[in-house]
């Protein structure tokens, strides 16, 4: 007779992924109206926080709640954790009121990351819209720190108006480098704006990369990404060369709560960064 112990055993104890670790706010920087960047340090300052570009954390404010936010700092500087946050709901609005010293809870890092290793040796297109630049900034830092490992690097960024350009100083710095193509466009502007006005997808038409040898990383509103994918196709960049970062409702970040399902994928653990060919079929399905 086959005898199995009734005690199923999953092996060693895994820490409870639902319990947040405690961090303190080190800095709060105003970015745009309703957008700010919070710097966090672990309570135990000897600890570091390793993450890969594109991953996110669940930030918890005592008595208010928890919200998923992408890490937007430099992965090579794991002592301070940066999150750029847009105040759109009760938790993010409460986070807007934190000041240095406030304690926050952090769970993470969670999810998939941008394909930094796969992009080595290739040209890299980084296309962001609005606050979608935040989850891409760690990638940009990592690429700049290892610039020689990549071919041409293009950063294309679209914002609503010139006043809503995120990380404007850094974009200016990057634009000043000879080893980067940086193009910024806005949807609407006054005549005092000397830059481009028009959709961000149009920037993809400016040659600065070699389509067959390019990886493209996209983050922004889903509509923008849908049309950016089409524009990349027009340039000859295929689905397997395109990565997108998606956003869905999340409560747990570890695949238990079911909220973030996108077809068969859990955006929290199979994403947020997806290679486009793996989701292409469902990307156009309404209300999936």
């Amino acid at each position: 007779m086959q005898t199995i112990p009734h005690t199923l055993s999953w092996g060693h104890d895994i820490p409870d992924p639902m319990r947040p670790a405690r961090f303190r706010v080190e800095s709060v920087q105003h970015e745009l109206t309703g957008v700010f960047t919070v710097g966090l340090k672990p309570l135990d300052e000897t600890q570091t926080f390793e993450f890969a570009p594109g991953q996110f954390n669940m930030l918890y404010q005592f008595g208010v709640g928890e919200v998923p936010i992408s890490v937007s700092g430099d992965p090579a500087r794991p002592t301070t954790l940066l999150h750029t946050i847009r105040a759109v709901g009760s938790v993010t609005n409460a986070l807007q009121r934190v000041s240095p010293g406030t304690m926050l809870g952090v769970r993470g890092p969670f999810g998939t990351s941008w394909p930094v290793a796969a992009a080595e040796g290739s040209d890299l297109v980084i296309l962001a819209g609005g606050i979608g630049l935040a989850p891409l900034r760690p990638l940009i830092y990592q690429v700049l720190a290892n610039r020689s490992r990549f071919g041409a690097v293009c950063i294309f960024y679209g914002a609503r108006t010139p006043d809503e350009i995120l990380y404007r100083d850094e974009l200016e710095q990057w634009r000043g480098r000879f080893d980067l193509t940086v193009e910024v466009t806005v949807d609407r502007a006054g005549s005092d704006w000397l830059g481009r006005v028009g959709v961000v997808t149009k920037l993809l038409a400016s040659k600065g990369f070699s389509p067959p040898d390019t990886l493209a990383c996209l983050c922004g509103p889903e509509i923008m990404m849908r049309y950016a994918v089409l524009a990349l196709h027009d340039q000859g960049v295929g689905d397997q060369q395109i990565y997108v970062s998606l956003e869905r409702n999340m409560k747990c970040a570890v695949g238990f709560c079911g909220h973030c399902q996108f077809g068969g994928a859990f955006v929290c653990k199979d994403g947020p960064v997806f290679r486009f060919d793996t989701i292409a079929e469902r990307f156009d399905t309404r209300e999936i």
């Binding site: 309703g34 008595g63 208010v64 709640g65 928890e66 919200v67 847009r86 105040a87 759109v88 709901g89 009760s90 938790v91 993010t92 609005n93 409460a94 819209g129 609005g130 606050i131 679209g158 914002a159 609503r160 809503e164 466009t185 949807d187 609407r188 502007a189 006054g190 005549s191 005092d192 704006w193 000397l194 830059g195 481009r196 006005v197 028009g198 959709v199 997808t201 149009k202 038409a205 400016s206 922004g220 509103p221 509509i223 923008m224 049309y227 409702n249 409560k251």
Partner: protein, 182 residues
């Protein structure tokens, strides 16, 4: 000013002429002139008769509309390789928007009246030319629609405002997350 031979080369370099027959390009060359505009100069002004369009070679052109009581609103900027202006194709041939050089602009101007005449004489040239132009117009229309969507702005700014009010009125009571939890 470039010679006709030089103009033909400039035309050939412009993406608008990708896939266009040499014959068509040659005919258009007869209506083309090389132009340079300095920062702030207008390539076209709203309301004036439209008998020209431009192929931008280098630089940026702001397509803008003047609204009383404010500074002009830039609808779109066009740059290297773009086509500027199609009012010359559509009666009553009147320019719809101001088009201002942002920095130095090098462009080829095409005499629309001249080209209209050639197209009317030669229907196959007219078709070939129009099919290229319609492609540009369709791209421009899609881009305009996307711009119209205002995708980066918060999809419903009133939610933000509502939540702020909710948080402020509940400031003394420990807040519970919204049912939506952000």
């Amino acid at each position: 000013m470039a010679t006709i031979g030089g103009l033909d080369r400039l035309l050939a370099e412009h993406p608008f002429f990708n896939d266009m027959s040499e014959r068509a390009r040659g005919l258009i060359a007869g209506c083309a002139a090389n132009r340079v505009f300095h920062d702030g100069e207008y390539l076209m002004r709203e309301g004036e008769p439209s008998d020209t369009f431009f192929l931008v070679r280098h630089g940026a052109v702001a397509v803008e509309v003047n609204a009383p009581g404010g500074s002009p609103l830039v609808l779109e900027t066009l740059g290297d390789g773009d086509v500027l202006g199609w009012s010359w194709l559509v009666p009553p041939y009147r320019v719809q928007f101001d088009c201002r050089a942002v920095g130095l602009v090098r462009a080829l101007s095409i005499d629309g009246k001249c080209l209209r005449g050639k197209c009317e004489e030669d229907a196959s040239l007219g078709y070939e030319f129009l099919s290229h132009f319609v492609r540009v117009m369709a791209e421009r229309l899609t881009a305009t629609r996307l711009q119209m969507l205002d995708i980066y702005g918060h999809p419903s700014d009133y939610v933000e405002a509502q939540n702020r009010v909710a948080i402020e009125t509940a400031a003394m009571v420990p807040a519970k997350p919204s049912p939506n939890g952000d």
